[in-house]
Subunit: 245 residues, 2 copies
DNA sequence: TTGATTTAGTGTATTTATAACACTATTGTA
DNA sequence: TACAATAGTGTTATAAATACACTAAATCAA
C-alpha cells in the first residue's frame, strides 16, 4: 500500500534483493545445450547454477540480463525474453531474493565462455543430461524455460536465432526436433516452411556424403510483422501460468 | 555477481522496491471490466491505477498478489496468474520500483469493492472505455494483460473462471466474444465445446423471452489434465516476450 | 563404370478441422 | 394462431494436417 501514498519513506521498509538469471540456450552439434556455472561458495557450493546476478539501480531488467549475458559469454545482440519471476520466500538461504529469469538464445560458434570470480567453471550442458542437483530452485527455472521454448517455437520464428546466417532446411527441421523432442515429417516440414515464405534462397550449396543441400537465409523483414503459426502438434504444453509457492 | 559469492553482505547494496500489481478482470452485464483505483496522492494524483502494493518479506509473490486482491475486493480462491515483471528505471518517480504484475479473474457478483487509505475511489471500468491517462506505465501493463488474456483463452479453460457455477453455452460464447472482441459462429461454438467434453449437463433450465436454455456445469476434473486447444482463429497475438525499456 | 548407399527434396491421397450458413425447436405474446 | 425471439442441430465446401511413396543428385565400393 505504501506505493500509493505520498508519505512513503523509501528507507523505512525492508526490501528483498532482486536478481536477474539468464537461461542461455545454444545448439552444439545439432543438440540443444544450456550454459551453467559451477558455484565456488556456500550455499550450494560445487553445484551447477544458472548464471545471474543482482541488478543495478540504474539499469532496466533487460539491460541487467544483457549485462549478465555479456559477462558470462561475451555476446551481444542476441534474442532475449523474460521468462518468469521466481519469488518463493526461502529459495535462497542467505536472504530474500526475487529472481527475474530470462531466456537467451545464442549461437555457440560466436562466443568464448569464461569462469568468473564466483564460479569455478562454466560449461555447456546438453538439456537431456543435466547435472544433479542444481543450485537453488534452478531445476524448476530450467524446466520452465524449456517448456516455454517449446511452446513458443510453434508460433514464432525463434528457432532461427540458433542458426547461422545460412543453413539448410533439414538443419532447421533438426532444431525443431531437438527442442520439441519429437520426430517431424520431412515432406510436411518442407511444405510448411516454404509456405510461410520466411526463407530466401541463396546460390550456395553444401556438399556432403549424399546429394548436396541448398542453403537458405532467414528473411528478418517478413518475420517482424507476420505473426505466423507454425504448429506441429495439437497438444501444446502450457507456456505460462506456473505454480510455485 | 554477489549472488554467487559467500562474502556477500546483504546490507551493503542499494535495493529497488518490489511491488505486486494485480490486473483484476471480471464480467459485468456480459462485458469485460477491469478494476482500477484512483490515486489520492502524488505522483499521478487523481489518476486511475492498477491496484498493487509492496511485498512483505515473509510472503511469496503469489501470496502478495492474493493479499492485494483480498484488500481491494475481498475475494479469495480466484484464478491468479503471473503476467510479467516491469522494471524500467524511471517508471516510478519516487524510487526504483520493480513491479511483478498478475492477472486475476473474478466473478463480480461475489465481492464488494472498497476504497482504501491511498485511493479516493475504486471502480470497475469496461476495457473498451478506460480512463485516460493511467498512472505510471499502467496503460502498458493493462494492454499486455488483455493481450495475454486473449491468447490464453484460445488454449486454456480460463474463461470458465468468469462464469457462475451453472451457465448456458451461449453465455460462454459471449465471454469468448467479449475477450476476443470478435463474433463467433453459434453452430461451430456448440460443436467445439461439446467435442471438448468439458461440460456436464444439469437438469436446470433458464426461462427467458424465447426458448428456455439448458444450463451446464464446468467439469474441473477434465480441464486439469486435458491441455485442450480451443482456437477460433489462426493469427494468435503474441502472449509473451514484450519489450519495455 | 555401374550399382548400392546416402542424403536431399517433391508429390499425393486420406483424414481431420474450419467456416459459413440453412434449418429445426420451444417458448412468450399480440 | 401466427410471429417474434431465443435456443440448438445439421450439412456442405474448403482448407489444413498427416502419412508415406516417390524422384534427384551426389559418393563409395566393386
Amino acid at each position: 500500500m505504501p506505493k500509493h501514498a505520498t508519505d512513503y519513506d523509501a528507507t523505512r521498509y525492508e526490501r528483498p534483493s532482486v536478481t536477474v538469471d539468464v537461461v542461455i540456450f545454444t545448439l552444439i552439434n545439432q543438440e540443444l545445450h544450456v550454459l551453467l556455472v559451477q558455484r565456488r561458495h556456500w550455499p550450494f557450493e560445487g553445484c551447477w547454477a544458472i548464471p545471474g546476478g543482482f541488478i543495478n539501480m540504474d539499469e532496466s531488467l533487460e539491460d541487467a540480463a544483457r549485462r549478465e549475458l555479456a559477462e558470462e559469454t561475451g555476446v551481444r545482440d542476441v534474442y532475449l525474453e523474460q521468462l518468469y519471476t521466481f519469488g518463493a520466500v526461502a529459495r535462497d538461504p542467505r536472504t530474500r531474493v526475487i529472481s527475474v529469469a530470462y531466456i537467451a538464445l545464442v549461437r555457440a560458434d560466436l562466443q568464448q565462455i569464461r569462469a568468473s570470480a564466483e564460479s569455478t567453471a562454466v560449461r555447456w550442458f546438453p538439456v537431456r543430461t543435466l547435472p544433479e542437483p542444481l543450485a537453488f530452485d534452478h531445476d524448476q527455472v530450467l524446466a520452465y524455460a524449456i517448456g516455454r521454448l517449446r511452446s513458443k517455437l510453434e508460433y514464432t520464428t525463434l528457432a532461427f536465432q540458433l542458426l547461422p546466417e545460412v543453413f539448410s532446411i533439414l538443419e532447421l527441421k533438426h532444431i525443431y526436433e531437438q527442442i520439441l523432442d519429437e520426430k517431424l515429417d520431412k515432406g510436411n516440414f518442407y511444405r510448411k516452411i516454404k509456405e510461410a515464405d520466411l526463407l530466401e534462397e541463396t546460390p550456395l550449396l553444401r556438399e556432403g556424403r549424399g546429394r548436396p543441400t541448398r542453403l537458405w537465409r532467414f528473411r528478418r523483414d517478413r518475420a517482424a510483422d507476420k505473426q505466423f503459426v507454425f504448429r506441429w502438434r495439437e497438444d501444446r504444453s502450457v507456456g505460462e501460468g506456473r505454480d510455485e509457492k
